[in-house]
């Protein structure tokens, strides 16, 4: 009997299966002339640069049989030191995405139809032939390196200075405050040297600055002795979830809280305000404990505790991010945080100079939202005849109240460089399909670098999947050749342009290597450090005021919080990121609204119910996720979903875009969109059959002791010894 059983198993294993019988179905193609080190079946790693967000992390791509299969961080890169985030990993899905545009498209009547590059270039040449510079504009995302050089050259060739650089997720106000108060828009933050961090909504582990860089710095901050992290924000971010103390703030009160803490440091801990303008000194004096408690709603004990922690655990560093800057007085909120740094003596200790990138024409140009507002207004004023767009999707990221979509109709000729059809290509007259980040050449200078001046190389990790896509640099070069043939005729393509640029780099960077060897070394390392020039910090605290009244609305405030995942919505077409549970809510493939339990009770909703969120500028219906990590007066709807049908099969009919219903308010000092200042009415809406899909069933441990905790008092009483406060 036993033998029979074995025999039966073996017969089972010998059953012909369709997969093993596919002789002659697949093709196998050898290399024509392989590189000596290439062995089929064995991966080779090439260095390049991640293009999934503007941080500019170095990557290594594993290439096998001419296909890129896996991306990892480049350990040589000072930015990410070998790490790569989920957005970076999902770069492969942007590359292999089935919805990529593979042919140029030209508008014929109401629809875009496939065209050839000759037709597209011909039409562009015709429309830009006699254009006056003031009638032409570029709108791009953050840009740097030789792409920036060529882009400026293209603007110059037309005689235009109109370059709108737009990023919804930005540090624009932090940069402006740093410029005004420290003389450096991009100071170096030494989390590794700090003993305590007070962050007003700076989600430095998720979306603030250079998240992977700060994650590694944060790891140093948390190791011996362990630094203390205090996060103040209206709704919990990934950084907030890691904090020792998380304080829910009513949006717009961050500045008041910072001034209140400053008041405590001065009055209770004898820190000096000298060096601050007298108006700022009296502003700080006015934020007494009572005044601060009234203004912020934060407990007096808590404010005193934060102040004493910052004093005791010195050096500290105070940061401000999206939720602190997203107000009509956003500049003041960030300035108040910076004042704390000055009072605490952090300048020169944990906030240092980053130096300045030595080659100005390649230096990073970082995007903001002021440009979006200005662009929309310019379009409304019919200032432009031709606009080129690349690396942006303003029709999606602009609040409907800006009227950008309507204003776009005033631009007679719109050219959109893109990988995918999206809300902006839908309005284009010409769509130019770009090579993916894994197919293109480029050089990138990261906007945040820790005291070094690295140029990160982007090199193709494989042949283009489609023969009709073109690299961004290649398109720019072609456009330039059509305008100024003589200056660019020596460059057959963008590779030749870059190769030449690296030949002409000053000899001091070449370490005595021959030209070819130097180029090979740079490609192999993926980067080259060309150094920075000194630019010492120069503290000049500026005057500012703080509005006492914040509208005092009984309405709630909408928080369009950003995540390392969909980012500003650009990655909603990547299934890995749709599938990855949200860091806070664990929701997949959907939008949700975070609501405090007490507020949910007031409105009469429970998890999964639908609410209507109505602002003066529009309304959205979205399912509720009930969570304590959100201020009771706030409803948070993370960014990313709610795309038009054209964007992608994966993002189609999925969730809502919380940016769409924001009021057109701006920070009065910088013109940046005030993203956290839209008042909304939240009401229960009719429930649909659609359920809110979340990973993880419960917010509590239900007595399972998954993470056992004991209070410090109990520990001291029962175990003895000191505890670290």
């Amino acid at each position: 009997m036993g033998w029979g059983g074995v025999g039966a198993t073996l017969v089972g294993c010998d059953m012909p299966s369709t997969v093993t019988l596919e002789e002659g179905k697949e093709e196998v193609v050898s290399y024509l002339v392989p590189e000596e080190f290439v062995i089929p079946g064995v991966g080779v790693w090439y260095a390049s640069t991640c293009r999934q967000c503007p941080s500019g992390c170095g990557i290594h791509g594993r290439v096998r049989e001419g296909r890129v299969l896996k991306l990892e961080g480049n350990p040589e890169s000072s930015i990410n030191k070998g790490r790569l985030c989920q957005m970076g990993q999902a770069g492969l899905q942007a590359h292999y995405n089935p919805d990529r545009i593979s042919k140029p498209q030209i508008r014929r009547g109401s629809s875009l139809v496939d065209a050839t590059w000759e037709e597209a270039y011909g039409l562009i040449a015709e429309k830009t032939a006699n254009i006056s510079g003031s009638k032409f504009a570029w709108m791009t995302g953050s840009v740097s390196g030789h792409q920036s050089v060529l882009l400026q050259a293209h603007l110059e060739s037309i005689g235009s200075g109109n370059h709108f650089v737009h990023e919804t997720i930005n540090n624009a106000i932090w940069a402006k405050v740093s410029e005004d108060m420290l003389g450096d828009s991009n100071p170096r933050i030494r989390l590794d040297k700090a003993q305590s961090v007070l962050s007003f909504g700076a989600d430095f582990l998720g979306t603030w600055g250079s998240p992977l860089h700060f994650s590694t710095e944060y790891a140093k901050f948390r190791t011996s002795p362990r630094g203390t992290l205090i996060q103040v924000e209206p709704n919990m971010t990934l950084t907030g979830a890691n904090a020792d103390l998380w304080v829910a703030s009513k949006p717009g009160t961050e500045g008041a809280l910072a001034l209140g803490i400053a008041n405590q440091l001065v009055s209770k801990h004898s820190l000096s305000m000298s060096g601050l303008p007298s108006s700022v000194q009296s502003l700080i004096r006015s934020y007494t404990m009572d005044e601060t408690v009234t203004a912020t709603g934060v407990d007096a004990d808590r404010i005193a505790d934060i102040a004493s922690t910052l004093k005791r655990r010195s050096p500290s560093v105070v940061l401000a991010g999206a939720s602190a800057q997203g107000h009509e007085h956003g500049y003041q909120c960030v300035a108040a945080a910076m004042v704390l740094n000055i009072i605490l003596g952090n300048i020169g200790e944990t906030i240092e100079s980053n130096g300045e990138f030595a080659y100005a024409s390649m230096a990073p140009v970082s995007g903001n939202t002021q440009s979006l507002v200005a662009f929309s207004q310019a379009a409304a004023d019919k200032r432009f005849d031709v606009v080129f767009f690349s690396g942006v999707n303003p029709v999606y990221t602009a609040p409907k109240s800006l009227g950008l979509q309507e204003n776009m109709a005033n631009i007679p000729f719109k050219v959109v460089f893109s990988h995918f059809n999206d809300e902006t290509t839908a309005m284009a007259d010409v769509v130019l399909p770009l090579a993916s980040g894994e197919e293109d050449w480029g050089t990138h200078v990261a906007p945040y670098q820790a005291g070094v001046g690295e140029i990160s190389i982007q090199q193709p990790l494989m042949e283009p999947l489609s023969k009709d896509t073109r690299g961004f640099g290649d398109i720019l070069l072609t456009l330039l050749k059509k305008r100024k043939e003589s200056a660019y005729e020596g460059f057959a393509d963008y590779y030749a342009y870059l190769r030449n640029a690296f030949s002409t780099i000053p000899a001091e960077h070449k370490n005595g290597a021959s030209d070819d060897q130097f180029w090979a070394d740079v490609l192999s390392a993926g980067l080259i450090d060309v150094g920075v020039t000194d630019k010492p910090l120069n503290v000049t605290a500026v005057e500012f005021n703080m509005p006492k009244e914040l509208g005092n609305s009984s309405d709630m405030v909408l928080a369009p919080s950003a995540r390392l995942g969909f980012w500003d919505g650009r990655h909603a077409n990547l299934p890995w990121l749709q599938e990855a549970p949200d860091q806070i809510s664990k929701v997949v493939w959907d939008s949700w609204a975070e609501l405090h339990p007490s507020t949910a009770k007031k409105i009469g909703v429970k998890e999964g119910d639908m609410v209507k969120i109505a602002s003066a500028s529009g309304e959205i219906n979205v399912k509720v996720y009930i969570y304590k990590g959100v201020h009771p007066d706030v409803i948070a709807v993370p960014l990313g979903q709610g795309h038009d049908a054209g964007f992608s099969r994966y993002a189609k009919d999925r969730g809502v875009n919380s940016l769409s219903i924001l009021d057109p308010k701006v920070d009065k000092m910088t013109g940046e969109l005030a993203l956290y200042s839209t008042n909304v009415k939240v009401t229960k809406a009719a429930k649909t059959d659609d359920v809110l899909v979340r990973f993880g069933g419960s917010e509590t441990q239900i007595g399972r002791k998954l993470v056992s905790t004991v209070s410090a008092d109990v520990y001291e009483r029962t175990e003895g010894g000191d505890h670290v406060a």
Binding site: C13, T20, E23, G24, V33, P34, I39, P40
Partner: protein, 214 residues
Amino acid sequence: MSVLQHLPPGRFIEAAGRGSRQTKHTVQVSFIVMLLMATMALFSANVNADVPNAVPPEGEYSGIHVEQPIEFPHDIHADVNEINCMYCHTYARRSKVAGIPPTSKCMGCHSIIATDKPRIQKLTEYWENKESPKWKKVHDVPDFVHFTHEKHIKRFVIDNEDLQVENVSEVCAFCHGEVKKMTVADKVKPLTMGFCQRCHQANDGPSDCWHCHK
């Protein structure tokens, strides 16, 4: 009886460097098995004299004849001219895949040799167009099977001190049949799980699921 036949002879265990791990019991078992094997050798033609320290896998298969872009004559190369399989399929001992030789390798000889033959002229045409022929895959395993040539060549060729490397085609023939008697390769072995499994049992190969399904 058929199961016993596939137990490994003791000599193989030593040759694989595991002699020190044998207990007295296994030595005895091996001895008995050797006696059995010696008896059975009289009745069995399965033990291939050309590959020492190995029991060839059992099983036959009759695959369809696949038309290739060029009817590559394995027989002329491997049999008539006695070119070692691993000369062209150089990746087999270095990688999981044996690999089709790069077109540059073909041209290394055929820019001079047999240039008047129609097949070579067709090859030259590919070369001059900077293309490689699109061969049709004949031998394959499903995507959920991790098969590596490298490990098998190591076991039966590199680590097999008694094998003359000139006879490597006999090892290849375990799974590919007598390719040196064919023009383009046909599939003549089943390459099913049972086929693999029996050979792994007979040659003391790993039998954990994850070795192949990972």
